[in-house]
């Protein structure tokens, strides 16, 4: 493990991991186990989206499933056990224009030979004024956190992917009725979730329909809907609206530092490499197709192994004087 100092006299890390979801945590486990000096800047939530997931049934090694927070704690314990340092907070700036790479958290600057971007994605919003105003007053994004408070209530879930259906299933444990409102005429969720939703008596579907507005002054009282096929509009009473319409990349910090595509995702070399040597990307930012805990872990592993090779190369060059 190197004990070098950076240009500002601060500790020079081998790897700084930005984000502490499954991808970032796995990268930290691999990097720290390889005896690389590893700092994880956790971002707003240790564990990322998985920390807000009630039950994970498909992560290998847990035949009875495991809760999201439990899985996060185990990953954290493993990363810290190998010597990774976790710093709770969010990076506020990065500078990848010269080596060593720099990451700032407020007024404190950290330097590193390599950076692994694992900042993931954030909930996409409908963009309605009422959505912002009623957030926490009936509008919500996390069934794991809030479903318990909708016992006996009528709730609308907006979306049709894995997240929307999983959230609907979690809600149905408490709610009286759950309506999945989807703008298409079928779900894009995986078959296993579709089947479970179809078989759940509390869950019903409203197809080809968009949410025009969320109604209520101080708390959610209903939604205004429009069927895209017929242009019919109507109001439906409900007590809550869960938004699960997808994710947007959390890459604002990296604009101008690494190449991003038009949607804001990091452009890769086909693997985990980015447009900047020594900077790697993993997790949701590198996987628009699968977005599973296990695929996030896989790309986190790949990013750490690439970082290790890159640092090995730097060390060999230094020794050979080139």
């Amino acid at each position: 493990m190197s004990e070098a100092q950076g240009s500002t006299g601060s500790t020079l890390y081998d790897v700084i991991v930005l984000g502490a979801g499954p991808a970032g945590m796995t990268a930290a486990i691999y990097a720290a186990r390889a005896r690389l000096k590893t700092l994880v800047v956790t971002g707003p939530m240790v564990g990322g989206q998985i920390a807000l997931t009630y039950q994970v049934d498909n992560y290998p090694g847990f035949p009875n499933g495991i809760t999201g927070p439990q899985l996060v704690n185990l990953m954290r314990e493993q990363a810290e056990g190998f010597g990774a340092k976790l710093l709770e907070g969010a990076a506020t700036a990065v500078d990848f224009t010269e080596k060593p790479l720099k990451v700032s958290i407020g007024g404190t600057k950290y330097e590193s030979h390599s950076v692994i971007i694992a900042t993931g994605s954030m909930n996409r919003k409908l963009g309605l004024e009422s959505e912002e105003r009623l957030m926490g007053h009936g509008v919500f994004v996390c069934a794991t956190c809030d479903a318990v408070l909708y016992e006996g209530k009528r709730v609308v879930v907006v979306g049709g992917g894995d997240s929307a259906v999983q959230e609907a299933l979690d809600l149905a444990k408490f709610a009286r009725e759950v309506f999945i409102v989807h703008r298409r005429d079928n779900l894009s969720a995986c078959m296993c979730l579709k089947r479970r939703a179809d078989q759940n008596e509390k869950i019903r579907f409203i197809w080809n329909t968009a949410v025009l507005d969320i109604l209520g002054e101080e708390r959610v009282e209903g939604v205004r809907l429009r069927n895209a096929a017929t242009d019919q509009e109507w109001t439906m009473e409900c007590d809550g609206v869960l938004i699960a319409i997808g994710w947007d990349p959390n890459t604002f910090l990296f604009r101008g530092e690494v190449e991003l595509d038009e949607r804001g995702y990091v452009v890769t070399d086909g693997g985990v490499g980015t447009s900047v040597e020594g900077v790697y990307v993993c997790g949701d930012l590198n996987d628009l197709r699968y977005r599973q805990v296990v695929t996030a872990c896989g790309s986190g592993c790949m990013a750490a192994l690439e970082a290790e090779r890159y640092i090995d190369g730097l060390e060999k060059n230094r020794k050979s004087g080139s």
Binding site: A51, L52, P69, V72, C145, R219
Partner: protein
């Protein structure tokens, strides 16, 4: 410095509704990531407000605990409700840093003279 008390529904009336001074209640549960992140922050609040009482209600622990939260209109966790003389006088929804919580609580207390008189921020 008093500690945060873990409250059950059967003690709600005596500990919150019949309390003389301000009571700050954190509605939370242990499957809520933001609640777990808030826990250590909330635990520091008794050191900042010497005369307010701080309690937590786990809404997953019992139906009665959950019912209290729902009757008060709590629709997400974590939600902090502030009571004075048994009356709700304000709420804070979602995670805050310690400085953010202190600021928000001062704002809530300042809106009620009776609470302001009984809750003196130490800083």
């Amino acid at each position: 410095m008093s500690k945060v008390k873990d409250l059950q529904a059967e003690d709600w009336e005596s500990e919150v509704l019949n309390a003389e001074g301000p009571v700050v209640v954190d509605f939370w549960h242990n499957m809520c990531g933001w609640c777990l992140k808030l826990n250590p922050v909330f635990a520091q609040l008794p050191g900042r407000f010497d005369r307010a009482k701080f309690v937590k209600v786990n809404v997953l622990e019992s139906t009665d605990n959950r019912r209290i939260a729902m009757d008060l209109g709590v629709m997400g966790t974590p939600t902090i409700k502030v009571f004075c003389e048994g009356r709700p006088i304000g709420e804070i929804i979602g995670f805050r840093s310690l400085d953010g919580l202190v600021k928000d609580l001062n704002g809530i207390f300042s809106r009620r003279d009776e609470c302001l008189g009984q809750s003196t921020p130490l800083e």
